[in-house]
């Protein structure tokens, strides 16, 4: 039977994987090595500030194994959402690592292709004015031209189409900007003539590598075998197995719905899938995945903008008299600092206390209000400038440290600082300013495919 084998080394490029698992995968003659490098999980800072999720060294370590083995086997290597957020600066960071590897291993003959996913602000403003942009979520802020202007970088998630184009052009290594996580996997499947539904569903599982196995991890390799009647997933370490529930359950992961998955121009419906454990006791066959194309074709925009600067302090409190009235004392500290800086506009800064041990993790959603014997406090000042954040935070710290609350016995100080200096200037705070769907002509309109001749050759 005709089939296609996809090797997924790890859940995020740079997370690392056992080389032995990877070589087990190579021994099974894969048709492509595909890895997802992206996520919005780490917050808006990566996209906004143009930094990567993983270190350069970790990214290079993974890529070196993938590229040298891919070249030896003459199969393509496809990287989705390069550099994490998939913007130009993230893609270029990845390309510079790849160029270094190609040079070090004498592999400069390989065809390196890049697919950009940056969206120009003017295009977004234009489509906004045409009513072709909608927020993706109940609490997504209203998009305005001003907000677009403040955004430092806008990317969109690509579907399989531009990646198929790059494969048609004979690319050996494809570096994609921001991509829907399953798209690079689906692209290889579509390029080889397999059902797009199985490509995307397999991609949804494989993009997290061995997370759908037991024990699950993003730091180990998986093989996906796409067939005409479905697909098989199999872990590449002897220490892991896939079960029908572990694979079925994976479709839950970090999605809003357990079996309806929205992607660029598509909706994947997994309601009627069946999951069958194979005789080897570690692989699972999946069939029944369905896909529908949407009209219009819509892509998801992501953008981040700087909103403030932060300075913060970490401290501990052990005094039960203070813990018993902590929030009241913090309100009074806040008021005293506000009073002291009456010459500064109140809107220019905010003081915030996070009380670990009371409701640090959940805030107002916390149902349990029992008091502990010890509290970890993180307090921060969010301000218009770093200088103002530093200034106000310094006053919050000294006011809180010495505040003479009702019934105090410990007149020498209220806070145990683990570090000196106690105040940490953090830098810029970002916010996702765009998380919207935008109508496009088709899957290729916004994602130019370009053969990369090296940074200096352009």
């Amino acid at each position: 039977m005709k089939e296609l084998r996809l090797l997924s080394p790890c859940g995020i490029l740079g997370y690392g994987f056992p080389e032995s698992s990877f070589l087990n995968g190579m021994a099974m003659n894969p048709d492509a090595i595909v890895v997802d490098a992206g996520s919005t999980d780490a917050g808006p800072h990566k996209l906004g500030a143009g930094v990567a999720i993983v270190s350069r060294r970790a990214c290079k370590k993974d890529l070196e194994i993938m590229i040298t083995n891919g070249a030896k086997a003459k199969i393509p290597v496809v990287i989705g959402s390069a550099g994490g957020a998939g913007g130009r600066v993230h893609v270029e960071w990845t390309l510079s690592i790849i160029e270094e590897i190609l040079k070090e291993h004498g592999l400069q003959h390989l065809k390196l292709t890049v697919i950009w996913a940056d969206i120009e602000k003017e295009i977004v403003k234009q489509r906004l004015s045409e009513g072709k942009i909608d927020p993706l979520g109940l609490t997504v802020g209203e998009l305005t031209p001003e907000r677009i202007e403040k955004t430092t970088g806008i990317v969109a998630q690509m579907g399989h189409e531009p990646i198929v184009r790059a494969l048609e052009q004979g690319a050996d290594i494809i570096v994609c900007g921001r991509a829907y996580d399953p798209s690079p996997f689906a692209a290889v499947a579509v390029f080889h003539g397999f059902d797009m539904a199985y490509g995307y569903h397999a991609g949804k599982i494989l993009e997290c590598a061995a997370l759908c196995a037991q024990p699950g991890t993003t730091k180990d390799c998986m093989l996906g075998i796409i067939r005409e009647d479905g697909f098989i997933v199999t872990p590449l370490s002897k220490d892991r197995v896939c079960t029908k529930t572990s694979v079925a359950a994976h479709t839950f992961y970090e999605k809003d719905h357990p079996y309806l998955l929205h992607g660029p121009g598509i909706v994947l419906n997994l309601e009627h899938c069946t999951f069958t454990e194979l005789e080897d006791g570690r692989s699972v066959f999946v069939t029944g995945s369905r896909i529908e194309r949407t009209d219009p074709y819509r892509i998801k925009l992501e953008g981040a903008m700087p909103v403030a600067f932060r300075t913060f302090v970490v401290a501990g409190i052990r005094d039960p008299l203070l813990i018993g009235q902590l929030e009241e004392v913090q309100d009074k500290v806040k008021a005293q600092v506000r009073d002291y800086y009456s010459d500064v506009d109140e809107k220019d800064y905010k003081i915030n206390f996070i009380n670990y041990g009371i409701n640090g993790v959940m805030g107002e959603m916390e149902p349990c209000r029992d008091l502990p014997h010890e509290v970890g406090v993180v307090f921060e000042v969010i301000a218009k400038t770093q200088e103002l954040a530093d200034t106000v935070c310094s006053s919050v710290r000294s006011t809180f440290l010495h505040y003479g609350y009702e019934g105090r016995k410990s007149t020498a100080g209220n806070l145990a600082f683990p570090f000196a200096p106690s105040d940490v200037p953090f830098g810029r705070v970002y916010e996702f300013s765009l998380y919207h769907l935008m109508d496009v002509r088709d899957g290729e309109e916004m994602f130019p495919v370009e053969e990369w001749k090296g940074g200096g050759a352009r």
Binding site: D41, G43, P44, L138, K244, T251, P258, Y259, M362, I382
Partner: protein, 105 residues
């Protein structure tokens, strides 16, 4: 017999579903327990609103999925991931209120 939900579930977790939503997954390895909880109707919007101190209209999905023996609850974040005043960038520690729920098994 009543049990805490975490005693019956195999997986009980929370995570971002994008930067503007939190999603809670509860998965079982015992089909009978899964069916019993599903059919009891205890997992509903009013319960989630109460457990998480959120208005019901922020809840976008409560769905059971039989092949995975699990249910999913998704609600909108009031503060998006990783910006000022967020407390859980990955949304990975928002499942605890659901763990304590008493269910008939």
């Amino acid at each position: 017999m009543k049990k805490r939900l975490y005693e019956c579930a195999k997986v009980l977790r929370s995570k971002n579903s994008g930067p503007f939503e939190i999603t809670l997954d509860c998965l079982f390895d015992d089909e009978q327990i899964y069916r019993k909880i599903k059919e009891s109707g205890i997992i509903n919007r009013a319960l989630v609103a109460e457990l998480y101190h959120i208005p019901e209209d922020l809840i976008t999905n409560i769905v059971f999925f039989d092949p995975a023996l699990g249910f999913k609850i998704t609600f909108a974040r009031r503060i998006s991931s990783g910006t000022s005043f967020d407390r859980d960038v990955y949304g990975a520690q928002q499942h605890a209120p659901l763990m304590e729920l008493l269910v008939e098994v």
